[in-house]
Symmetry: C2
């Protein structure tokens, strides 16, 4: 099948770039040093390539991602790096034979883990991003509480997410965040210090494992941050209209692009704006395409873009090699 | 079933507010004066309520929406208000007995309509929003071309989308846009002058039918524009973490909210930021909720929010009355 035969808009993954990204990360963080985050691609077929590269533990953001990974046979060591108040579906996944570790940061989430049938937890610690995670000084008693409820405490996690696109003193700031996590770890114990992401994979030396996800497919925000991974993901679209006043319109928009990091990039073009099913653009350094031409847009943020699509297509230039279900969507 | 039993995040539609919105619009634009746009809800169960209110013609933005509406028995008069270069799937819908009218704005899109088996078209005219649509002076020859290809030309359409949230001279500006559309219509002929949206439903007096969609569920952008429709749609989320420094985190984020119009609104709270599966917020005029509490967020833009969800739940306060598939997603 050819790319030109695809219904647009469509997610394309350039095989050689994906393979390069996976190989580069595996060289830097081999085997269990990387716990790939599936939220960035939501696709078990892609997770399988990461497992083949030696990473058998995965990070998930939702119960649905945990269920889907386990159902795909990738449940050797799943970390749900998020808090839940009802862990019964996770308990069922454990009962069915997968290994699931759940983040906890409060008495309520410890109780939910125990009540739901989860057996292993990590204590989630606030390291500077104002989101989930307990104060580092509370990690010890939360671990004790978990153990008193019969839970195995595998260690700690923390996410320095506010530093992912940082350009000033990223290494030093990461170290400051990790000092908080290591202090908590001293109180908690366990083998895991799980942290990091694509933006800090090479400067976070404190974590025993890095939870990077975006590196596989990438987006323009991370490319602009100077990371050594290639833009493997694009959104294929077709030009459906051109206007003599100098603009063209392609059939991708707010329903096929995560927009929180801004407009997509169309190489050689200036993007004017996106609406539900359209992107209007004009020529910058290349000629304006004609009606019927295909364009490949680079999304600004990979995670929410992927969540809008039912499938992604592995391609080699103009040829479609495989089509993968984005099978971890929903909750 | 109770709202508290739903897996979060979840789309909620408050029944009384939805019914009020539908009734108010039907009173203003009865029967064929309104051609509801399904892109704003992507749900045939909701479209059926609009049909029950007397609106038998619908507007669609994608081929998939046309297919799904026809399959649901709502294919009496479907307008695909968008250009396509391959109309074969639409031709199949026509062949199966639905009425499908397709927008065209160029020789290529006329050719695609004829080649694909579509029988009826409208000429899409640029009325000021830089997107699809021919120059008004070109509408006549495009209509002639379509007729020469054996297509029935039902009239014209144009979308003054740049005026939807306008506050300055909206009526006058709409009239200026519609003057262009009426000039094109004089060259094209046909019974339809299709235009407008929720933001101009009461000031566009030139169109024979208005393509409004957002009025049914609404979003904060339209509410802030002062329209007389209520916020019927919310995203239910659960507080999964609170921090002694004064913030809370709920389990909705970039994968459950369209973000192009900005952050969601949490009544009584100040929203700090959204990440993939989280929204961090602090108290403003109400007390910060506790871990486990439910919150209902008002999305800033309804259309891309709906596209991220598999279903929406019709509720009456704390009770779930029905669950509807968002069955028109994808392309």
């Amino acid at each position: 099948m050819l790319v030109a035969d695809l219904q647009t808009p469509a997610l394309l993954v350039e095989r050689t770039l994906l393979e390069d990204n996976l190989a580069r990360m595996s060289a830097a963080l081999p085997g269990p040093r990387l716990r790939p985050h599936v939220k960035a691609h939501k696709t078990t077929a892609l997770a399988r390539l990461q497992a083949d590269a030696g990473h058998r533990g995965f990070t998930c953001a939702t119960i649905r991602e945990v269920e889907g990974m386990a159902a795909a046979g990738l449940g050797q060591d799943l970390l749900l790096a998020n808090e839940v108040l009802d862990a019964r579906r996770l308990g069922a996944v454990v009962e069915a034979g997968a290994r699931v570790t759940l983040a906890v940061d409060s008495e309520q989430t410890v109780d939910a883990a125990a009540a739901g049938g989860v057996r292993e937890v990590v204590v989630d610690v606030d390291v500077g991003l104002p989101r989930c995670g307990c104060d580092p000084s509370d990690a010890g008693w939360i671990a004790d509480l978990a153990r008193s409820r019969g839970l195995e405490v595998r260690g700690v996690m923390g996410y320095e997410g506010h530093l992912m696109l940082e350009t000033d003193r990223k290494a030093e700031q990461t170290e400051e965040c990790m000092a908080k996590l290591l202090a908590a770890h001293a109180d908690v114990g366990g083998e895991l210090v799980s942290a990091g992401g694509t933006g800090t994979y090479d400067v976070n030396h404190a974590a025993t494992e890095i939870q990077a996800g975006s590196y596989a497919l990438m987006d323009t925000a991370y490319v602009q941050a100077g990371l050594p991974f290639a833009q493997a993901l694009t959104v294929l679209a077709r030009v459906v209209s051109t206007n003599p006043q100098g603009w063209a319109v392609a059939d991708l928009g707010l329903k096929s692009l995560g927009m929180d990091h801004g407009n997509p990039t169309l190489p050689g073009m200036t993007v004017w704006f996106c609406s539900d099913e359209h992107t209007t653009f004009s020529a910058e350094s290349a000629a304006l395409p004609a009606v019927g031409d295909l364009v490949r847009a680079e999304p600004a943020h990979v995670d929410p873009t992927v969540a809008l699509h039912q499938r992604m297509h592995l391609v080699d230039g103009d040829e479609v090699l495989e089509s993968w279900e984005v099978d971890l969507r929903g909750w």
